[in-house]
């Protein structure tokens, strides 16, 4: 495999492209094949849910924390779920220290939208008392090793984290005007309904392929991420300086539903529901 560097030589680029033209990849996958996903859930004791997800060489550890706060005035009976991503400088020489840059904000926002628009988190279940108290969930993703396609790995990792959730259950005490704890837990069983997956495709010249690895991601003209539930497309993000034909988008839409269905079955994310009651 090629080394990580900012610039990939023209020879290496040509090698990647000529392989893709023959429908071959430098890591021997076919165009519509994922690298291997590995998921471990609830690995962080301090978090109220967590997942350690690898996709090939890419590795992301995500944790869930919660807070109780006042709901937004326009959604008085719904909790809030926010997604944050950090590209740790430990994960790649390409990542720098400092406040979140474009790439990490895009990762967080695409994963957030994939989850938000899919009827995944049941925000009404996160309400303790209308207009007074709701849960605010923080899903924080940390990239441990960057091997390309952070978005798909991040999507699986955020989803598995939410499914593995075990949040103390609160009820509203009218007299004291505050939240009290019942000693029970809210788990992924009641919090999560749809299971959105994000599928990212790279494009080089006129070739489109699933799950770009690092060298492919560094040389590709652009990418497109399509988030799907069992039967619906819930968000799309085109990024990079490539253009896609209308026919390509139609084709990727149906491909995404088909591959998403297969992947969802393989990953079986509901197995990570916390056993804590």
């Amino acid at each position: 495999m090629m080394d990580v560097k900012r610039i990939i030589s023209k020879i290496e680029r040509d090698y990647i492209v000529s392989n893709l033209k023959k429908e071959e990849r430098i890591d021997n996958r076919d165009l519509w094949e994922y690298r291997k996903f590995q998921v471990k859930s609830d690995t962080i004791a301090s978090a109220e849910g967590s997942a350690d997800v690898s996709l090939g060489d890419t590795r992301i550890i995500t944790g869930l924390k919660y807070d109780v706060g006042v709901p937004f005035p326009d959604l008085p009976d719904e909790g809030v779920c926010t997604v944050m991503a950090e590209l740790l400088p430990l994960a790649s020489p390409l990542f720098e220290r400092g406040p979140p840059d474009e790439q990490s904000i895009e990762l967080a926002r695409v994963v957030d939208r994939g989850i938000r628009h899919a009827d995944c988190v049941q925000t009404k279940k996160l309400c303790i008392k209308e207009k007074e108290a709701v849960y605010i969930l923080f899903v924080d993703m940390y990239v441990i090793n960057y091997g390309g396609n952070l978005i798909d790995a991040g999507g699986v990792s955020a989803l598995s984290t939410l499914i593995s959730a075990h949040i103390p259950e609160g009820i509203w005490n009218e007299e004291k005007h505050e939240t009290e704890w019942t000693g029970k837990y809210l788990t992924g069983k009641s919090l999560v309904k749809e299971l959105p997956l994000i599928l990212t495709y790279g494009k080089i010249e006129d070739i489109v392929f699933l799950d770009p690895n690092l060298p492919e991601e560094l040389v590709c003209d652009g990418k497109i991420s399509i988030s799907v539930t069992e039967d619906k497309i819930t968000s799309i993000q085109k990024s990079g300086a490539a253009t896609f034909t209308i026919d390509e988008i139609k084709m990727l839409g149906s491909k995404s539903l088909e591959i998403g269905k297969k992947l969802r079955k393989e990953l079986n994310p509901l197995q990570y529901i916390s056993k804590i009651e």
Partner: protein, 261 residues
């Protein structure tokens, strides 16, 4: 807003049978697991589980200094960045690095610098990134230990490893390897690190109260515990090469078989 479930301090830190709350004896360490080479992109890396602490360390260097004005014409520089994940602690930590993280980064950097031959690398930097994914007391000691391991994994010349541990006093008794709750509710906490090439102290802080006898005891007990930790570090470094050896033997075996055919 703070969380409403409080992490209350227990009245006593010892159980009725004389053991500590997590079932350890006074001089017993928590289970420790170390592994090197866990982050493929880094020049050197290590992972450590120490009780509930889970920490990654990665080393990049020697490489160009950025920003450039920090470079020194006659020697390399060492920079350490200790950070905690937002979900590593009871109350969600703010994502931006705080004062505590900056201080600990400096302490660890000062602890490790004596081990390196920085004068051999003018104009360059070594950067160590430490990420605490799960925290339960003693993260600065665990981070120092795992950072040394990552440096060794990067193949950077070092005088020796450094090992670190916290000793302390809980309910008036001296114990090694304070857990999170013992650290918060105990009477004294003394993080300490030994650089093995000269067996001197390279990290030392203290909070609490002690008399002179106790100081002597603290140091003796710490040194004994550190020997165990040093051994675990060495074993982790060796096991990477044992694995490599096994893999090469396997592939050699395959090639020979092919040759026979």
């Amino acid at each position: 807003m703070p969380l409403i479930i409080k992490d209350e301090y227990p009245e006593t830190l010892f159980r009725k049978d004389g053991k500590r709350l997590d079932g350890r004896d006074v001089n017993e360490l928590r289970p420790i697991k170390m592994e090197v080479g866990v982050i493929k992109n880094a020049d050197g890396s290590a992972y450590l589980e120490w009780g509930n602490n889970k920490i990654f360390a990665a080393v990049y260097g020697p490489r160009e200094v950025h920003p450039h004005h920090l470079a020194k014409p006659d020697r390399g520089i060492l920079r350490v960045f200790y950070r905690m994940a937002t979900y590593s602690v009871f109350d969600r930590k703010r994502p931006a690095p705080g004062r505590r993280e900056k201080e600990i980064s400096m302490i660890i950097s000062d602890c490790i610098e004596p081990l390196l031959f920085l004068e051999l690398y003018p104009g360059t930097s070594f950067e160590i990134f430490i990420e605490v994914m799960d925290a339960d007391g003693g993260t600065r000691c665990a981070s120092t230990t795992v950072a040394a391991l990552a440096l060794a994994d990067a193949g950077i010349p070092m005088k020796s490893l450094v090992s670190s541990i916290a000793v302390g006093k809980i309910d008036g008794k001296i114990v090694v390897d304070l857990s999170g709750i013992e650290d918060k509710a105990g009477n004294a906490d003394l993080p300490i690190a030994i650089t093995w090439y000269n067996e001197e102290l390279s990290l030392l802080q203290f909070d609490g109260d002690m008399n002179l006898d106790e100081l002597n005891d603290f140091l003796d007990i710490a040194k004994n515990a550190l020997k165990d930790i040093h051994q675990i570090q060495l074993d982790a470094l060796k096991s990477k090469y044992v694995k490599l050896q096994e893999e090469t033997n396997k592939s050699k075996g395959k090639n020979e078989k092919k040759g026979d055919e």
